[in-house]
Symmetry: C2
Subunit: 418 residues, 2 copies
């Protein structure tokens, strides 16, 4: 259904066509292969409109005919599927100890997932931008070499991101006032596709909305686990951004009065209890003595091995972190009433020992009706936010805007050289 924004603009026919284009794409995405007649019948659009839209979408390389015909009464009908072969979105992620790039097509297929070990907190913004640009160029070369067109790129950052794609603050990386989108565009020398930036948590929750077991959940939270802990918030099917785009900051929620010191100056903040650096240092004291950690994966694996082997201090430590995490989740549940809360990053890796304690804490804290929220580990892996970035780049097309790119005869202004 159409819902109306709070503005004075009217429903003119151009908007209606964009809306209907989105409906056709969405229908084919979920019901492919299907015929034009199927689309008309299931969406309520008349057949002439469907034919016109489908023709347009085929011309722009968003749909294609498979040549299959159904067995049905009457004339055989040509079946339609999304054309995954044309357009690709790229997503990058600045992780605690790595950079990740994912390329995905309109059908949601991941074409590549590459990781490069990289400690952005140590390297600093200019070096990180250079590394992101290099990774991007390699991915673009691979993708265009296979005949595809990059529609856009979105970078996920563990910090605040403003409306211009700049990072006012990412304490986890030691960054302040970094014009990331502009710097990356410059480093890529005007790449010919849009470059955006969003928070790790927002991109991860967007990925959960599209892929995996909780796809389509209207009220969903993703808690991203990394150097910081951020929340991607979906309510009524929409990502919440807030007035300045800074929604989802939960790192400094007081979860453990008198607990560990936080870099912000206070004690017992969620990030100081459950961030990856805090967890590693607390459970592996030898690591703390060695100085800054630049590669967390081996340490997380060590913690997993100890926990599996039944190491009591590690299991107790994880349970305690789980209880504090459970308090934080209960605050989110009380405030936003999500159906599902998904944890990612190292929180997903350690979920078997964190989440039982967290769920107990949530159940104990409910003063109203019993909590029905599901608290689960993300099934999307640590590339969730990069996958979200890749599909963010595709979102405008899915909303019914035709790509400012190449028609099939490659005469458009957005055409990239093969």
């Amino acid at each position: 259904m159409i819902s109306i924004d709070r503005s004075s603009q009217t429903a003119d026919l151009g908007d209606v066509r964009v809306a209907n284009r989105a409906v056709v794409l969405r229908h084919v995405r979920t019901h492919a292969p299907c015929s034009r007649a199927d689309v008309a019948a299931r969406t309520g659009l008349n057949k002439a409109t469907v034919s016109s839209l489908v023709g347009e979408l085929i011309e722009h390389g968003l749909l294609r005919e498979t040549g299959l015909t159904e067995n049905r009464v009457g004339r055989p009908a040509t079946m339609l599927v999304l054309d995954g072969s044309r357009y690709v979105g790229l997503g990058l992620r600045i992780g605690a100890d790595e950079l990740v790039v994912v390329a995905a097509d309109l059908a949601g297929e991941r074409l590549l997932t590459w990781r490069r070990a990289f400690a952005a907190a140590t390297a600093g913004p200019p070096e990180t931008v250079r590394a992101l640009a290099a990774l991007t160029r390699r991915a673009v070369t691979r993708v265009t070499g296979a005949g595809r067109t990059v529609l856009g790129l979105t970078v996920g950052v563990p910090g605040l991101v403003d409306a211009d794609g700049a990072v006012p603050a990412a304490p986890a990386l030691g960054w302040h006032g970094v014009p990331l989108a502009a710097d990356l565009r410059r480093a890529l020398r005007d790449p010919g596709f849009p470059v955006g930036v969003d928070t790790d948590a927002n991109l991860a929750v967007s990925a959960e909305l599209r892929h995996g077991p909780y796809a389509g959940t209207a009220d969903l939270v993703h808690l991203s686990g990394g150097l910081t802990v951020g929340a991607g918030l979906v309510s009524g099917g929409r990502l919440l951004r807030g007035g300045r785009g800074f929604a989802g900051e939960i790192a400094h929620l007081l979860v453990h009065p008198g607990g560990p010191a936080c870099h912000c100056g206070r004690h017992g903040c969620l990030a100081a209890v459950a961030g990856v650096d805090a967890v590693v240092r607390r459970l592996l004291p030898d690591v703390a003595a060695d100085g800054p950690v630049t590669d967390y994966l081996p340490e997380i694996e060590r913690i997993q091995a100890l926990a599996r082997a039944g190491d009591a201090p590690v299991r107790d430590g994880l349970a305690e972190v789980g209880r504090h995490l459970g308090y934080a989740v209960s605050v989110l549940v009380d405030l936003l009433d999500p159906e599902v809360v998904v944890v990612g990053g190292h929180l997903a890796a350690l979920a078997p020992w964190l989440l039982p304690a967290a769920r107990d804490e949530i159940a104990a804290r409910t003063s109203g009706p019993p909590a029905t929220v599901r608290l689960e580990a993300s099934a999307l892996g640590s590339a969730a936010s990069a996958l979200g970035g890749a599909t963010a780049a595709l979102a405008t097309v899915e909303a019914g805007q035709l790509p400012v790119a190449c028609p099939l005869d490659r005469t458009g202004p957005g055409c990239q050289p093969r």
Copy 2:
């Protein structure tokens, strides 16, 4: 602009008409008096469409012609205004020590605001329903006696409200599992208009969105102050309800470790620190000795008088409550990034002594860019949520749905007797 819901339904012409009807109504509401030509010029709709819609809206008693004509070049034009005279929405509120009923028309004019001293926590659900029904009948009689039609009624409750208008839990009133909407409908003997229930906080924030200095703010929170403290959350222009409709619970956020005992069994919850009963008992120790309070207004006035007179313990006590309130607000600000947070109820009455300390706490807690959120007292008075209830009843009309009520010749099925 049109935004697309996550469903397969298409933009058919009926929806377009509903959308355009809403645009015309909204334009007239904000620019009255104005002519049909003005509406067409400012909204982009063509003149024939505007004429047709305006005719329909006049016939249904939503717009009327004033007979005034502008001084302008060319033919004089008849001016349009909202027709406030026909439809009325009713809002009820179950407060800490009173029941409130507000009647408001489409133009936002309050036709009546009545209060009845009533301690719902002491009286219990059946008695409260009887009292609400009696108050409603008096208001309906007044309103229909003046020739108007009641479009709907919404009751505000300080507790959880589910999708059926039942109250699973309102610990502030000692209520559990109260089918309030159904009970009230029964008590009103099928009143011929819809009866809804929502939380106090949701209705109050809806009222802030329509009326007063923060009307139209896209990212706004209202903290309702009463026996409990609830949050009405607006993000991206939409009220957040959550999966079960239970969003906005903030009463048990830990704000003061080791602080006062809460009825939920824990200590230092926001409601136990800043709820009206907690504040009154803490600042007026003689009240605590007297047993249950059934009328908070005199106590709040006494606190105001002492604070104005510079009473140090009262001022210090209010500042401490303000600091804890500031922490709670900072959690909301970090999570939702609102532009404005408005406090209502007794929190508004005590704002001059609460909010400075709260603002200091917010400013001290910001770890990223400086907090730009405005924290203010509601200008709408303690009837804010009842006003919100009255306009909730009018919302479907404003969204462009024609009322299921009387055309001017009074031949429709929804016609109430004069």
